[in-house]
Symmetry: C2
Subunit: 188 residues, 2 copies
């Protein structure tokens, strides 16, 4: 109450071909990936709450039977975690997670309130997509991994929509494309 409202950030590691995860939400392909030093700590310092989706949670719960390993940022951050689901009654319970069964906009409101002025991170691409369409996303922050997956959980799966335009946050023109060159890793 009275504190400033944090931002809604859509924050993820994405494959070079536009996948947030491999088939069945697999994250194995991230092994060996290097993030810029400090990137994790910056995210943790500004993170107030997390909103995830049911499919991602179920996949994580199957892979990680221990509750601690289901925490965002591998447990390096602690705080309110929400999972939005139509059926909270059949979710694997976890004392660190609050299951919500409401609309996306209301879930975001709840998450922002719990974040107490810090940022709310969206950890579900399906929820993020809905938030984009509702105009609720303040920032899209992506770590583009030098890996192509060929299939998996798409960043933004929404046939029939008009193109959604973003402004790149950098010193130049916000509508400018980012140039990236890659060589096959097996031919170093």
């Amino acid at each position: 109450m009275g504190s400033s409202v944090g931002r809604v950030r859509w924050h993820l590691v994405m494959s070079l071909d536009g996948f947030a995860a491999g088939p069945d939400h697999s994250l194995d392909w991230m092994s060996g990936l290097k993030l810029r030093p400090g990137v994790h700590q910056e995210a943790i310092d500004t993170l107030g709450a997390v909103l995830g989706g049911r499919r991602g949670y179920d996949a994580l719960a199957r892979r990680s039977p221990g509750e601690a390993s289901r925490q965002p940022y591998g447990g390096a951050w602690r705080g309110p975690v929400f999972v939005l689901t139509h059926h909270p009654e059949d979710a694997i319970p976890d004392p660190g997670i609050t299951f919500l069964s409401c609309g996306v906009a209301e879930a975001v409101e709840i998450g922002l309130a719990a974040a107490e002025g810090k940022d709310l991170e969206l950890h579900s691409q399906d929820i993020a997509r809905q938030c984009v369409e509702l105009g609720l996303v303040d920032e899209f922050y992506v770590h583009l991994a030098p890996v192509m997956l060929g299939s998996g959980i798409r960043l933004f799966d929404r046939p029939g929509i008009d193109p959604v335009r973003w402004n790149l946050v950098h010193d130049g023109d916000p509508a400018e494309a980012v140039d990236l060159r890659y060589r096959p890793a097996n031919r170093a």
Copy 2:
């Protein structure tokens, strides 16, 4: 003969969500996109030949009845253009285009020979994917547009493959992810 062999480069503008084109190979979403000044000229200066695919060619031929407008780089570059197709007999003919009906590896060989030491560009994501799997791509050069499409022609559509790893060409660690921040364009 005797000249050095050029590189095979997979060069494209890609949407932020991993599409090389919209549905039906539409490129309308690229309007307003800004490329780094000089990027076109650099590509043209080093380009020796182009290899495209039949679906992309057909879509282009439908949209651009005039032959000149079907030229790569809007006609600013002139040189050998090949289109690989199983059925050259029913393609809309174009004096500027040679239709090939052979395997991908042979088409690349023909393209490189025609490029006379300059680079061969792959303008079909399907052919590029096959070239990646055959180990024939020397460089992946992408201009990442600040636009999400939601559907379209995927960069690298290949379920069931092992992750394909690339090395980022830059001063730092080649396995490092690229950090990019965006804000919604409609909330400048």
